[in-house]
């Protein structure tokens, strides 16, 4: 079962990916993102609009402007589940390493 959608290209644009990565690093305003890149504020706003529509980022109003965050329903959930997965794996790994007979004397 596979799906193909035009949205797949959302992160193909290098500038849009850069915008997304800045937001992924920490929540930022449009002005902060613009300062970090060599594009205009209106271009950044356009990219944020696309990322918002793709539900990759979310805008949270703060004062007169918006602060952009990673959409918690997307990446954050995947992260949380993988974090649990690796936690469980490492715990079981530690038991496997330490419970197998060792050759060296204690």
């Amino acid at each position: 079962m596979t799906y193909d959608y035009p949205q797949f290209t959302t992160l193909a644009d290098p500038t849009r990916r850069a915008v997304f990565e800045l937001v992924a690093e920490r929540p930022r305003s449009v002005a902060e993102i613009t300062r970090a890149l060599t594009v205009t504020q209106s271009a950044v706003s356009q990219h944020l609009k696309v990322l918002r529509e793709a539900q990759l980022v979310r805008a949270v109003p703060k004062g007169a402007s918006n602060i952009y965050h990673i959409d918690p329903d997307g990446l954050e959930r995947l992260r949380a589940e993988l974090d649990r997965f690796w936690g469980k794996t490492l715990t079981a790994y530690k038991a496997a390493v330490e419970n197998t007979p060792k050759e060296e004397p204690q």
């Binding site: 079962m1 799906y3 193909d4 959608y5 949205q7 797949f8 959302t10 992160l11 997304f20 990565e21 992924a24 690093e25 920490r26 793709a54 539900q55 990759l56 990673i70 997307g74 990446l75 954050e76 959930r77 995947l78 992260r79 949380a80 589940e81 993988l82 974090d83 649990r84 997965f85 690796w86 936690g87 469980k88 794996t89 490492l90 715990t91 079981a92 790994y93 530690k94 038991a95 496997a96 390493v97 330490e98 197998t100 060792k102 060296e104």
Partner: protein, 163 residues
């Protein structure tokens, strides 16, 4: 155990009471023994999980009916210090065949003493899977898309792990 990470990666570490060479060896040879058993993309129970110890190899699950699921490619194999693998599993909990949409996980082994080793795992570039959830959310959505798979994933690992 520590947990700290950027928003697009997961990073964990653990200290084991074993020399570095042994810590590395157990990780590779016994991977199928400690990998959470519920982590299964096959339609049947897993008979064994094989970690092919070389660059270009795979980690694969073999089902009791003989079916194979190769879900990771070995990108770096540097005993006893480092492993780098791909994660060819989409957020929909299916094998991802588009390599541009796969993430990677690195395992680093550091000797703290002659008989104690720190093992760190960093699973990074999770944003590369993003296209998957966009597609499902926008095109399939609802109960049948990736939320279903993630919920299944979440249910599997929701039990306390003794951390």
């Amino acid at each position: 155990m520590n947990t700290h990470a950027a928003a697009t990666s997961v990073k964990q570490s653990i200290v084991v009471e074993a020399p570095i060479a042994r810590a590395f060896e157990v990780f590779v040879k016994d991977f199928g023994r400690f990998k959470p058993a519920e982590h299964n993309l096959l339609g049947v129970a897993i008979a064994e999980t094989v970690f092919e110890p070389q660059v270009g190899g795979h980690i694969y699950d073999r089902g009791i009916d003989g079916s194979l699921c190769r879900w990771a490619r070995v990108l770096a194999y540097e005993p006893p210090n480092r492993l780098l693998m791909s994660w060819d599993i989409s957020p929909r909990w299916q094998i991802e065949t588009n390599l541009g949409r796969t993430s990677e996980w690195e395992v680093r082994f550091t000797a703290e003493t002659a008989s104690r080793t720190r093992v760190e795992i960093e699973h990074r570039h999770l944003e590369r899977h993003g296209q998957g959830w966009e597609g499902v959310r926008d095109g399939v959505g609802g109960e049948e898309g990736w939320p279903l798979y993630l919920q299944r994933f979440a249910d599997l690992f929701a039990r306390p792990t003794g951390r």
